[in-house]
């Protein structure tokens, strides 16, 4: 009897697989790349995080040691990297996201012809590229009297001596946040804008009849509920952007580690251990924590914005 069910279940699966043959042909090219370059690296990171590995000798299982070191002995992580990453992520994540929404909403209120121009203006920095970002901002924030910001502030009488903006521990993180938000109005912003454009106009008319008085009420009672899916997509893009923007501090200051670790984010810390010190076990443990954090934040957003019946 038991044997029988097992056989029939395995033949059932076999039949299912046979039926799905064509679909698998369509899927194969993408799925192979996806598995090799995303799924396997994520799982390898999870496995290696329990080992000590220097990329020359085979990995040695060390249990939770890497995580213990993370909590107790990595003072740079605790003192600089985590607080920096947290501050950075709060500003670039939720605040950046709110700004994306606000700008998308304001643009959606414009007359049709103007919309295109403003979407273009706000979106453009996100395609500027790393080279442009470092060139522009390094020069604008340049530390001597030739620096544009310094020169402007001296002329206005706000400062008397030029400030080495990107080399200074007290300004670097703020500049990083500013520059990242500036460049973050990308796919998520477009998605929000598209969502706003696509709200059924009859809803607004119905709302007016039901006593909606101003634009804020309209936004809260009609617009927001009808664009939750786009909001979720944009939120995921924001979280990913906030947690993974690692290079900006290094690009601006020209050093890894950044001056006094002022702009050190988790991604720089990972690169530091992975590609500079070759302590790959510890580096992947950090990676693993980052993935867990990204995943948890996204789930949280999902709970707020998603529908109950999914996932």
């Amino acid at each position: 009897m038991r044997e029988g069910t097992r056989v029939s279940r395995s033949t059932h699966i076999w039949n299912e697989l046979k039926r799905s043959r064509t679909a698998y042909l369509f899927l194969a090219p993408f799925m192979i790349c996806f598995i090799v370059f995303i799924v396997v690296p994520v799982f390898t990171a999870a496995l290696l995080s329990f080992t000590s590995f220097n990329s020359i000798q085979p990995p040695k299982f060390v249990g939770l040691l890497n995580f213990k070191i993370m909590l107790t002995r990595d003072s740079v992580l605790m003192k600089y990297v985590i607080p920096n990453t947290f501050k950075f992520a709060v500003f670039v994540g939720p605040i950046g996201y709110a700004m994306q929404f606000l700008l998308a909403w304001l643009i959606s209120q414009l007359p049709k012809r103007l919309k295109k121009v403003y979407v273009m203006a706000i979106y453009t920095p996100s395609i500027a590229g790393g080279v442009l970002i470092s060139t522009v901002w390094v020069v604008l924030f340049s530390g001597d009297r030739l620096g544009y910001l310094n020169n402007a502030l001296i002329n206005l009488g706000l400062i008397s001596q030029p400030i080495a903006w990107t080399q200074s521990a007290s300004y670097l993180l703020g500049i990083m946040i500013f520059v990242t938000i500036w460049g973050s109005m990308g796919v998520g912003f477009l998605s929000l804008f598209a969502g706003l454009q696509n709200v059924d106009p009859t809803l607004y008319e119905a709302g007016k009849i039901d006593g909606i008085k101003n634009k804020l009420q309209e936004l809260w009672y009609i617009t927001l509920p009808s664009m939750k899916p786009q909001m979720l997509f944009a939120a995921v893009m924001s979280i990913v952007g906030a947690l993974n923007a690692g290079q900006i501090g290094v690009q601006l200051s020209g050093q890894n580690p950044t001056p006094n670790y002022a702009g050190q984010l988790i991604q720089n810390h990972i690169d530091d251990y992975g590609f500079i010190r070759y302590e790959l076990g510890y580096a992947t443990a950090l990676t693993f924590m980052l993935l867990v954090a990204a995943y948890s934040f996204t789930r949280l957003t999902w709970l707020v914005l998603g529908n109950e019946d999914d996932n």
Partner: protein, 290 residues
């Protein structure tokens, strides 16, 4: 007729609209300012780049910075054209493979019923939150185990694994009416024909959007060259740009050349977006995670 309409619309602008325009214009100016700056810097002669007090706008535009770019390249023994060639080959192949692979996969997820469909799609949605940078170390290990280090494949194939591409095209395909495909299947079309003749022409906008996204990420990618390539002759343009800007914080040398290369890298991106803006926004309507 359209002219009349416009006049009417403008006269209907309220106080809210004026404030709104004011705020947005402010943001737009901050947003665009650095781009205007780089355009000016790229055409400034040396004397204006290091002028005191610094001037924002260029007075006597020159192409000298672009010419310098060529000579700086000469010193590293790899000619400028080589980087351009590498970037072009890598970008075109990645973009083409990405749109082919992701639209095929999206078709399976959207229009076919197969074993494991739900699980695999969920995996793709979850992976939206893991950017490649987060797994760069283990990805490096995978690439080196596969023996791809220093080959173009290392620059191309990882870029093809673009989950957001499959996601966007699939969401767009979901909007196509069922009848469209059913009719084709009734007429005896097999899945390939249905995909190629019926579905693809109807999801062109989404495919176009993914093309742009893929182009943007590959064209600007300097990290892959840094990590996976050994021979200088196989590295890409953004990598070279990054080597130029690396020294910028400590010295002002190369400032003009950096601005020139930054502009060269930016312009194709901008033109493509300007042309495709409408179809991109149309696709994003369906980008929601439901």
């Amino acid at each position: 007729m359209p002219k009349k309409l416009r006049v009417k619309r403008l006269s209907r602008l309220t106080g809210f609209d004026y404030n709104n325009l004011l705020i947005l214009t402010l943001f737009a100016v901050v947003s665009i300012f650095p781009i205007i700056f780089i355009i000016n810097n790229a055409f400034k002669p040396l004397s204006e780049l290091f002028m005191f007090p610094p001037k924002f706008f260029v007075n006597n535009p020159t192409l000298q910075n672009f010419v310098d770019l060529l000579s700086v390249m000469g010193e590293s023994l790899v000619p400028f054209s080589r980087y351009v060639f590498n970037s072009t080959v890598v970008t075109i192949s990645s973009v083409l493979l990405t749109i082919m692979f992701s639209s095929a996969a999206a078709f399976a997820f959207s229009k076919m019923d197969f074993f494991g469909s739900k699980f695999m799609f969920k995996l793709i949605v979850v992976s939206l939150m893991f950017s490649p940078a987060a797994v760069s170390i283990t990805r490096y290990l995978v690439i080196s185990k596969l023996g791809l280090i220093d080959s173009y494949a290392a620059l191309i194939l990882p870029q093809v694994a673009l989950p957001v591409g499959v996601f966007l095209i699939k969401q767009f395909m979901d909007q196509l009416p069922k009848e469209l495909l059913e009719a084709a299947r009734m007429d005896g079309a097999n899945e390939w024909m249905a995909f190629y003749r019926i579905v693809i022409p109807n999801v062109k906008t989404a495919v176009g959007t993914v093309m742009i996204l893929s182009f943007q990420s590959v064209w600007a990618d300097a990290d892959s060259s840094t990590l996976y390539m050994i021979s200088e002759a196989k590295k890409t343009l953004p990598y070279f740009g990054a080597t130029l800007t690396n020294g910028l914080t400590t010295s002002v040398a190369n400032q003009g050349a950096s601005a020139a290369i930054a502009l060269l890298l930016f312009v194709p991106n901008f033109i493509i977006f300007a042309i495709m803006q409408r179809s991109m926004i149309e696709t994003m309507v369906n980008s929601g995670i439901k």
